[in-house]
């Protein structure tokens, strides 16, 4: 069976489309999005082990339905992945424990985290939060309110006593700064 090597630069859509023929493609997809998905859950549950379980279930669900993913112009694969992550979080909240259906379906072993993994996940939280803390005060408040607290722009504007446009600008600048600093690291 001839298998073409998976390129690390391949677009997400191609990685998902070939995941079943070329398993390593899904590994590339995982590596590319691991930090963001872990960070998403860590910010919401605050526990590295629960965040890891939620991440595992999210990627397992993505793998199960990867062949059904259809690229759309306005909805990249990362948005599709975060849709799965949100559903997974909501389902887990409802049940009071981390959903494991996709992992069971795939026959995946329960995740046993090493101390090193837990430390690396915790560091992810610290890195992001430390960078947010380093932002100028007005940008910091806006980014925290919008990205971490997930509040609406009008609501934030009311709280910060400025216009919605100003809040949007502060969030945009703050995120731009964060992105640049993360790339430096």
């Amino acid at each position: 069976m001839g298998m073409s090597p998976v390129s690390d630069d391949a677009p997400d859509e191609k990685l998902l489309a070939t995941a079943r023929e070329e398993p390593a493609a899904f590994g590339v997809f995982y590596r590319r999005h691991e930090d963001r998905v872990l960070g998403y859950f860590l910010a919401r549950v605050g526990d590295p082990e629960v965040a890891a379980d939620l991440t595992a279930e999210t990627f397992a669900a993505a793998l199960v339905s990867a062949h059904r993913f259809r690229p759309r112009t306005r909805k990249p694969a990362s948005a599709w992945l975060f849709g799965i992550a949100r559903n997974n979080l909501a389902m887990s909240r409802r049940q009071g424990r981390v959903e494991a259906r996709a992992r069971r379906r795939l026959g995946m072993a329960p995740l046993v985290l090493t101390d090193e993994s837990i430390e690396r996940i915790t560091a992810l939280d610290r890195t992001a939060l430390t960078l947010v803390d380093e932002l100028p005060g007005d940008q910091q408040d806006a980014v925290r309110a919008r990205v971490i607290d997930e509040r609406d722009y009008p609501d934030i504007a009311k709280d910060l006593r400025c216009s919605e446009a100003v809040v949007r600008k502060r969030v945009s600048r703050g995120l731009g700064t964060l992105r640049a600093r993360l790339e430096e690291k």
């Binding site: 398993p23 590596r31 910010a43 995946m108 985290l113 925290r144």
Partner: protein, 293 residues
């Protein structure tokens, strides 16, 4: 290197298993695979059912996942234990003596929780069930989680922290210690712990709060976001960072506490005791007004 290399390996292996057997195998092999799959499904169903019981509980904002055992403190060592499902969270309090910190920092520390008080054969579900896990305590860290193999939280009566070489660090007995606290002490403890969490948590940690209050604070129900809901401002949260309980008034199953930042909160005592009993039911606005006239 990814943060969870074992997960990447599991996913790639799972993707490999998803490869179509039709493409890889002949008809005879496919028939054998089908029979094996039936057995595997049966095994997975059993394993899956068993695994459900031992799964960690998710603790996202809005979800009530309070453990049966409350947080307990070894005051002499200045160490707090909280057992939630399979996870034992051990934190060093600011009041901890330097001896505790010296013993923990950079050392391999063993945590054990058990039911009976006699020494047994060790981990396992025998006559003396107990769970043990050893981890490196990172230098300077004030909180470390120990994940046990099985959930012992519903039957555990004690937990111990020790350096396998040097010896004892901290020890707590469940329930007995907690029952000695007066209602005022329980409220004070719950209030102080809640204030710390409330000030630190941007996404809303719902421990110590009733479900309706938790939903109002996170502006989110399980069914979705709550319309026209404004969560507490960051400044309001921060005001609780170093706040301590100054005054408590108890009226039957309801109570109120005033904090050093001038804010008051109301408490409610549910019929089923969880985490010290009292839960915070009202925050902000006119909370506590009818108690502190």
């Amino acid at each position: 290197v990814t943060r969870i290399p074992q997960l990447e390996q599991e996913l790639v292996a799972a993707a490999a298993r998803l490869q179509s057997p039709r493409r890889l195998l002949g008809p005879a092999a496919r028939a054998a695979l089908a029979a094996a799959a039936l057995v595997a499904v049966a095994v997975l169903t059993i394993v899956g059912t068993a695994d459900n019981d031992g799964d960690r509980r998710a603790r996202p904002s809005g979800a009530s996942s309070l453990p049966p055992n409350p947080d307990l403190v070894d005051h002499e060592a200045g160490v707090r234990f909280a057992l939630d499902g399979r996870v034992l969270t051990v934190s060093v309090l600011p009041s901890a003596p330097s001896k505790t910190r010296t013993r923990l920092n950079g050392a391999r520390i063993r945590a054990t929780c058990g039911k009976a008080f006699t020494e047994g054969p060790g981990p396992g579900p025998g006559a003396d069930p107990r769970q043990t896990r050893t981890r490196l305590w990172p230098a300077g860290s004030t909180l470390v989680r120990f994940r046990f193999r099985d959930d012992i939280s519903r039957i555990a009566r004690w937990c111990r922290l020790e350096d396998p070489v040097v010896g004892h660090v901290a020890f707590v007995k469940f329930r007995a210690t907690d029952s000695k606290l007066s209602p005022e002490q329980k409220i004070e403890r719950t209030g102080s712990e809640w204030a710390r969490l409330f000030a630190a948590s941007a996404t809303g940690d719902c421990r110590y709060m009733t479900q309706p209050l938790c939903e109002r604070i996170s502006c989110e129900r399980i069914s979705g976001p709550i319309e026209n809901c404004t969560p507490p401002s960051a400044a309001y949260r921060k005001s609780f960072r170093a706040a301590t309980v100054q005054d408590i008034v108890i009226k039957g199953h309801r109570a109120a506490a005033r904090f050093s930042n001038g804010e008051a909160v109301e408490f409610f005592l549910p019929e089923i005791e969880i985490r010290g009993g009292w839960l915070i039911s009202k925050v902000g606005g006119n909370a506590g007004r009818r108690f502190f006239k």
